[in-house]
């Protein structure tokens, strides 16, 4: 049969529609009737062997990771482990990557990742790196997009909850982090009800444009509110950063009610160029604060953790003009700057309007000193003096806004569960589309940058209910792809997502797809335990520590038999995948190990640490189906009782055997 693709897709749609009608008639699904119109299927169909147009990077929320999807197909391409251990590839389990999850609280195996941000050049995503924040134990990670791997994590001191993070300046000089939970700074043992007196917030600026050198440039000490989200200015507002805050009531209990009293909270407008001036003038005081900086060196493929002890803190009372407050209704959540850099849109989650501030008016209000009052040295500008307009009756629960670069803004409405499209400048609502259900963030590729690629919009929803086949009480989260290329928004696709995506970013595939590393050059490896050739493996003992160096190649390990290990030893298997070809991975696991397997990329060395519990023979094997003889890729290690006379042995080359015999003789 030779049915043209278009026709068969059409038939499929007709079939789906028919099934939908049957369901609707049967009264099984009432919430969602005929949603998809026209040729949605062909718009999201990416033929086998073809590529998606965009990479989308979605935060993993409480999975702590980043998931990478292709758009418009909604196909999952990869999970990038960032803040949570990932047994699938040993991230956070093996000696090489464990230091990445070190903090001043010790090893933290999990976090809550919220907001991915692509690095930018001149306000446009450039595809070098992706940053993402840890919300619970405040940290920021940098992911390298030539390898899709976490390379660097910095902890944020003087912060208890890193939600407004890691939004990026147009030149990626800084990424930011603001405290969601105010606490005493430095953190001390005080009565909780002394909140108003003792609790403070901080806005941190972290240098981000050099791999391996992320550091806290400075922090601004702020009144003890909850700082929620942020975005950098651009164009005329370049040099400024905007952060929303709520709980200006400074409640310390039952915030649901007590922090929803004031008509308006604030957007903090930070002039970070002014902050740099104050630092140059020596205004910022170095303050003792412990935090760690973890870096995964790409040449040794090994992470190191270093502790830092001091941070520069600016008090706004000592640096006039560094921060202004813009009154904003009501408990604002998102703050988003339009592509021209003129409009600052707030998502007042309890507000009945979407307020938009004007950067031009903000500058004039500052010049005119149009202040209502001053809070802890921070002037509060008059709302009417900075407001550009309000979008009337947008819906309920506005949260976040993205832009299409054609003069329109799209705001997510959590409570009324919809996306609302409105026009910048006239503030009129021009279209709305329902989402399923309760949308949180929304994302347009480049939609928070100077140059959005305004073709698609992804809605990331908080509630899934009946969107997919049910899978018990807990289900995947739900995302929706919406076509925004025309006047009317059109729903194209539902797809399930990992963890709970908050924000996401996307970039045309062409920007990064040809920069991908295919293997690590073995000759250039600086890993201290690398084994570069089959004959170079072996076994050595240092007290109760046994180090095994071995290689993996299709389809064997070398050496693959070891003896002389005793109960009470700690055995480190340093396995090097000496393949030099794309996508030829090997794995390594040993019976009874209290840790994850290893997955070895071509040319890399990783270490599995094993403490054998009793005498016997333990097999190990390759866990990644690498080749036709994968099932033969195995070996044995013999464990003898403590104090046994069994000699150290590895079935290696004659030369290495001679060296081993010599070492055994000396004992």
């Amino acid at each position: 049969m030779n049915i043209p693709i278009k026709r068969s897709v059409g038939l499929a749609i007709a079939g789906i529609a028919a099934v939908g009608i049957i369901y609707a008639c049967a009264g099984q699904r009432t919430a969602t009737t005929n949603l998809v119109t026209g040729d949605a299927a062909s718009k999201v169909y990416v033929a086998p062997g073809s590529y998606d147009e965009f990479y989308a990077f979605m935060s993993g929320g409480y999975s702590g990771q980043v998931s990478v999807y292709g758009l418009p197909s909604g196909r999952l391409l990869k999970l990038i482990p960032v803040f949570s251990q990932f047994a699938e590839d040993a991230y956070g389990y093996d000696a090489e990557t464990k230091p990445l999850l070190e903090t001043t609280y010790g090893f933290v195996p999990w976090d809550d990742s919220h907001h991915p941000e692509l690095s930018m050049t001149d306000g446009v995503p450039d595809g070098r790196w992706l940053f993402i924040n840890a919300n619970n134990t405040p940290r920021i990670a940098r992911i390298d997009l030539t390898r899709f791997e976490t390379d660097e994590i910095i902890q944020i001191p003087n912060s208890a909850g890193g939600h407004a993070s890691p939004f990026t300046t147009p030149d990626t000089k800084y990424v930011v982090s603001a405290t969601r939970f105010s606490v005493p700074i430095p953190n001390t043992d005080v009565a909780i009800d002394t909140y108003k007196k003792n609790f403070k917030g901080t806005l941190s600026f972290i240098t981000a444009d050099q791999p391996g050198k992320m550091d806290i440039a400075f922090q601004i000490l702020m009144p003890g509110y909850n700082y929620d989200l942020g975005h950098a200015g651009k164009g005329p507002s370049d040099g400024w950063f905007f952060f929303t805050s709520y709980n200006s009531e400074q409640a310390n209990a039952k915030l649901e009610e007590n922090a929803s009293q004031n008509d308006k909270d604030y957007i903090a407008a930070v002039n970070y160029k002014r902050a740099e001036e104050c630092i140059a003038q020596g205004v910022a005081k170095p303050q003792a604060a412990e935090y760690v900086h973890n870096y995964f060196d790409p040449s040794s493929r090994t992470a190191k953790s270093e502790k830092k002890t001091s941070v520069k803190v600016i008090n706004p009372t000592d640096c006039a003009g560094v921060v202004y407050y813009l009154p904003t209704p009501k408990s604002p959540h998102g703050v988003d700057v339009d592509p021209t850099g003129e409009y600052i849109v707030a998502g007042g989650k309890l507000a009945t309007v979407i307020p938009v501030h004007s950067f031009t008016k903000l500058q004039k209000a500052i010049a005119d000193k149009a202040f209502d009052k001053t809070v802890d040295g921070i002037p509060v500008l008059k709302y009417d003096a900075v407001m550009a307009g309000e979008v009337q009756k947008p819906g309920l629960g506005p949260l976040h806004t993205e832009f299409d670069g054609k003069g329109y803004a799209y705001t997510s409405m959590f409570i009324s569960s919809e996306v609302v499209k409105w026009k910048l400048g006239t503030w009129e609502v021009v279209d709305r589309i329902p989402t399923y259900y309760s949308i949180g963030h929304l994302m347009i590729p480049g939609g928070d940058s100077k140059k959005p690629w305004g073709k698609y919009l992804v809605a990331m929803n908080k509630i899934t209910k009946d969107r997919y086949l049910p899978t018990g009480p807990e289900m995947a989260q739900s995302a929706q792809l919406i076509d925004i290329s025309g006047d009317k928004m059109k729903l194209l696709l539902d797809f399930p997502t990992i963890g709970e995506p908050h924000y996401a970013q996307a970039i045309p595939a062409s920007v990064i797809k040809d920069k991908q590393v295919k293997f690590h050059k073995l000759a250039e490896s600086t890993n201290p335990w690398v084994t570069k050739a089959e004959a170079d493996g072996g076994i050595t003992r240092t007290g109760k520590k046994v180090d095994i160096k071995m290689i993996a190649i299709r389809s064997h390990f070398a050496p693959d038999n070891f003896e002389g290990v005793q109960v009470g030893d700690t055995v480190n298997f340093h396995v090097t995948n000496i393949e030099q070809d794309w996508d030829i991975l090997h794995g390594f696991a040993v019976l009874g190990a209290n840790t994850s397997e290893l997955i070895l990329q071509p040319g890399e060395t990783r270490t599995l640490t094993w403490i054998p519990k009793g005498p016997g023979i333990y097999p190990f094997y390759c866990t990644d189906f690498c080749s036709a003889l994968h099932q033969e890729m195995q070996g044995y290690i013999r464990v003898s009782p403590a104090g046994s006379a069994t000699k150290l042995m590895a079935n290696v080359s004659k030369k290495t055997q001679a060296q081993l015999a010599e070492a055994n003789k000396e004992k």
Binding site: R554, E579, Q580, A628, L629
Partner: protein, 210 residues
């Protein structure tokens, strides 16, 4: 000998030297799991992978069928071949200077003979690698199967399609040979010019020049 054949022979000599650093032959291997392919390039002086690790990866795969590792150091002809080409170039230059028909013929004959020997030798190495298998240690043994890639064209070897084709260097060498043949054609055998004949000779020369 007139000027034209000398120029042609001098050009042929230059082309021979030009071919020296160019790849002579290319063998491509494509399989379901190698859509991007693996490639092997034969230069006058060595055998190498088309990309950095191709030869190593081909050898890794070949160990399954018991094929010896392809090692340029184990092929002595690769150390002779550049000198053969240089020799032919010097010879061509000499013939151009001499400007005689017989030396041109001798040069062409040696070029053809050496070319034929080279091709035979290449085929012989392919035969040796494809047949001389270490069956005691081979992992994949298919009864009756050998793995000789074709000299020219395509052939299925288990999951790989091997395609072998001359590369730029060989085309340059062939062009040098063709120029030599042209030089021979335009060089009339030396004989006494008799009355009535000059017109024909001049016409022939004019035709070639055109």
């Amino acid at each position: 000998m007139s000027r034209l054949p000398r120029v042609l022979l001098a050009l042929a000599s230059g082309l021979l030297l030009l071919a020296l650093p160019l790849p002579l032959w290319r063998v491509n291997l494509v399989a379901p799991q190698y859509p991007e392919g693996l490639g092997m390039v034969i230069d006058a002086h060595t055998v190498r992978g088309a990309t950095e690790n191709d030869l190593g990866n081909i050898n890794k795969l070949n160990h399954y069928i018991g094929m010896k590792a392809i090692d340029p150091a184990a092929i002595p002809e690769l150390r002779v071949m550049p000198w053969v080409i240089v020799g032919l170039a010097v010879f061509a230059a000499g013939v151009a200077l001499a400007g005689k028909r017989t030396p041109t013929l001798v040069w062409l004959a040696s070029f053809a003979a050496l070319g034929a020997v080279g091709m035979w030798d290449f085929w012989k190495w392919e035969y040796t690698y494809g047949h001389d298998l270490d069956l005691a240690h081979a992992i994949i043994k298919v009864p009756g199967m050998t793995y000789q890639p074709p000299l020219i064209g395509s052939k299925q070897l288990l999951n790989f399609t091997a395609t072998s084709w001359p590369a730029s260097g060989t085309f340059v060498l062939a062009l040098a040979f063709v120029l030599g043949v042209c030089a021979l054609v335009v060089t009339r055998p030396t004989r006494r010019v008799t009355a009535g004949e000059p017109a024909r000779a001049t016409r022939a020369a004019r035709m070639v020049a055109a």
